[in-house]
């Protein structure tokens, strides 16, 4: 079953995602300077050898862009994957256990949902300081309630399916039912959800960076670049716009890809 080349949207999304990820992964090899090397005038305009100019301290923007993707993409992906793993586990177990545990989990998710993402971020970062693991954890926590709810409802849906009843009737061990019968049937929609989460995760990290709650200097990071240079947006726009554009393209690509895949999968399932 080759899904990829058929859907135009999937193709476009995949292309964008792959492009940005390539920049992020291969960028460090191509970067002319180190991340903390100050080689030009502060907020220096684009010049030969520095096509994107210099940042607020005089580091080469191109180098920092090339070096800073790995960290952002990794942070974004880690946060989304963490949210997926934790949320799916909690949601599935809640649905499986049912009764009190299920209601408690739902209630917790509702409470967590009551905090807008940035408010959670604000509280968490002020409590625990700026660090990459914390950014990952915070973003993951903000994405958690939605994932838990999705995983829970998907699991409930699958549990109502008769093959699960059949497995129970035959007396299969619980673990087998959960992992072999249910899990494979909730993975596809959860993976589509992962795409959406990657988008939110990237957007949230961009907003956190703007407010100064992102990754700490001097690491090269697209989000951090946004924070460092946003004061100079009108002086040396490249130092902000290029990382912002890359974050946005990454979000866009992943989102397009995920939605396209979701549609394709839905269509394939329907055709069955």
């Amino acid at each position: 079953m080759t899904l990829l080349p058929r859907d135009r949207q999937v193709r476009a999304g995949a292309l964008l995602t792959v492009l940005v990820v390539l920049v992020a992964v291969l960028g460090p090899v191509a970067a002319p300077y180190a991340a903390d090397e100050l080689v030009g005038p502060a907020y220096g305009a684009p010049a030969p050898g520095a096509p994107l100019g210099y940042d607020y301290l005089g580091a080469d923007v191109l180098s920092r862009v090339l070096l800073g993707g790995r960290s952002l993409v990794l942070t974004t992906v880690c946060a989304a994957v963490l949210a997926l793993l934790a949320g799916a586990t909690i949601g599935m177990l809640a649905a499986w256990t049912g009764r009190l545990a299920d209601r408690a989990v739902l209630w917790c998710a509702d409470v967590l949902l009551a905090f807008p993402h940035l408010v959670l971020v604000l509280l968490a970062v002020s409590m625990l300081g700026r660090s990459r693991p914390l950014v990952v954890a915070t973003v993951a926590v903000t994405l958690l309630p939605g994932t838990v709810r999705l995983a829970r409802s998907l699991t409930l849906g699958v549990m109502r399916q008769e093959y699960v009843e059949a497995a129970r009737l035959l007396g299969y061990p619980r673990r087998r039912i959960l992992f072999r019968e249910i899990l494979p049937n909730v993975t596809t929609p959860l993976l589509v959800h992962l795409g959406a989460m990657l988008t939110w995760s990237a957007g949230l990290i961009a907003a956190m960076s703007f407010l100064g709650y992102g990754v700490a200097a001097p690491a090269a990071d697209w989000g951090l670049m946004v924070n460092e240079n946003h004061g100079g947006l009108r002086i040396q726009p490249w130092a902000v716009l290029v990382p912002v554009a890359l974050i946005a393209l990454f979000a866009l690509g992943v989102n397009t890809l995920a939605e396209g895949l979701g549609r394709t999968v839905a269509r394939v399932e329907e055709e069955r």
Binding site: D36, P41, Y43, L57, A217, P218, G231, I235
Partner: protein, 521 residues
Amino acid sequence: MNSQITRRGFLGGAVLLGGAALVGCAPDAQRQQAASPGTLQDGTPRRGGRLRLGVVDGDRAGTLDAHKPLTIGSIIRGFAVYSKLWEWNAEMNWSPALAEETEANADATTWTVRLRQGLEFHNGKTITADDVIFSARRLTDPALGSPWAALLFTLDRERIDKVDERTVRFHFKDGKGFVPFPDTFTNFGAIVPVDYDPAKPVGAGPYKLKEFTPGQRSLFTRFENYFKDGQPYADELEIIDFQDEASRIAALQAGQISLANGIGADQVRLLQGDPRVSVVVSQTSNWQSFDLNLSKEPFRDERVREAFRLLTDRKELVERALSGHGRVANDLYSPQDPTFDRSIAQRPYDVERAKALLKAAGQENLQVELVSGEGGDAAALVFAAQAKKAGVTVTVKKVDAATFNGPRRLDWTMSTGGLLTESFLSSALHLDAPVSAANKTHFSDPRFTELFEQAITQPDVARRAELVHEMQRIQHAKGGLVIWGFNDALDAVSTGVGGVVPEHTQFATWRFEKLWVKETT
């Protein structure tokens, strides 16, 4: 003032110091003019209109309490509402304000101050000696809990004598002398009436408070009986809080505010091309430093300290962290003080010697964490890049203001620092004197202590200069402060406002009595 105010000052001013273009190192006077072509010839002041000053006050909402202003915004509002016995002149030395005469005795153990005649508060009440005594006692009242009381720790608040209706005499604890009394009393020594209520603040400043919305804005009207004749000029003054520098600059360009104090150096370039705004550059002795903690390794070793000073490329720091709007410094503060020793040679930038010293100290491949408070991270990052060249790995850890000045503030091994311009003695009182309130470097030297004890009771400038010179040599050789530069105060002013003149302080836009609104606006 102390390091917190300094930090706040930067929040208002240099927080967003980033880099601008490397503007070669032009002579000071030339730079000063180049930046502000329009503001120097303003014509005759006229009355009327509303001044609008935008401040970035960090995260603070601020208060109006005369003796407890905690943020730059509150201090600026204090400049509008309150007058003090003395004020800072353009050279950052004290000169009489409400005081008509100030007299210290020979060993500075008593200070006698006489008020001008016919002074009035906003509510029409005459200012008397009782008000001065009340104000001094209130500032130092432990029950008020003003952080600024610490600087006046030696003032004997039980012995403030009323000589007559207009004259007050101050004494100090244990009969000791205290030379920097006006220096330490001027900033926060607002004179308020004995029935002062901070909820309805009354002072003798150029403007009366009309409304105050914390964290948002405050509105003032002209005080007609201000002690300086004919001043202030504008009918109203509005001080507006911004949370974001870019937003403040945009508001200035859009004509929503007419003044922005202490703008980020990186914003200058943006404003230079704008005919509606000019930037007033004031060369100050506000300094910037890296503070090395002498109580911790590796800085217990003098060689390591010397190495750190040598590997600091001050010129580059000024260019990058201050966008060129400043001067290099020689690890010593208060160059404006008449007692400053100008004969101490500028410490060079010498990576090779730094390396050699580190090697001798057995500290090759040294790793240090540099904690930066808000506004200090640009300098810290530039320094980290410089240290790398000498084989030192500096990890910059940026923490928020509350953490930076929190309970661990004296524990940082290395941290960013700095202070606004103050006299030598009052700076030392903050930092490295034996009684200092925030000795981040844990500097302590018996000879230095001895000299300080003498200097603080020596009102005679020439004799005090000798003592200070020796103290400065000790600081220069053994101290923990790597003072790398003095930053300019940058104020952005709409062409519609007159009276903003460059000086050697950060007060150019705070002297509200002198500012006026031009007809065109």
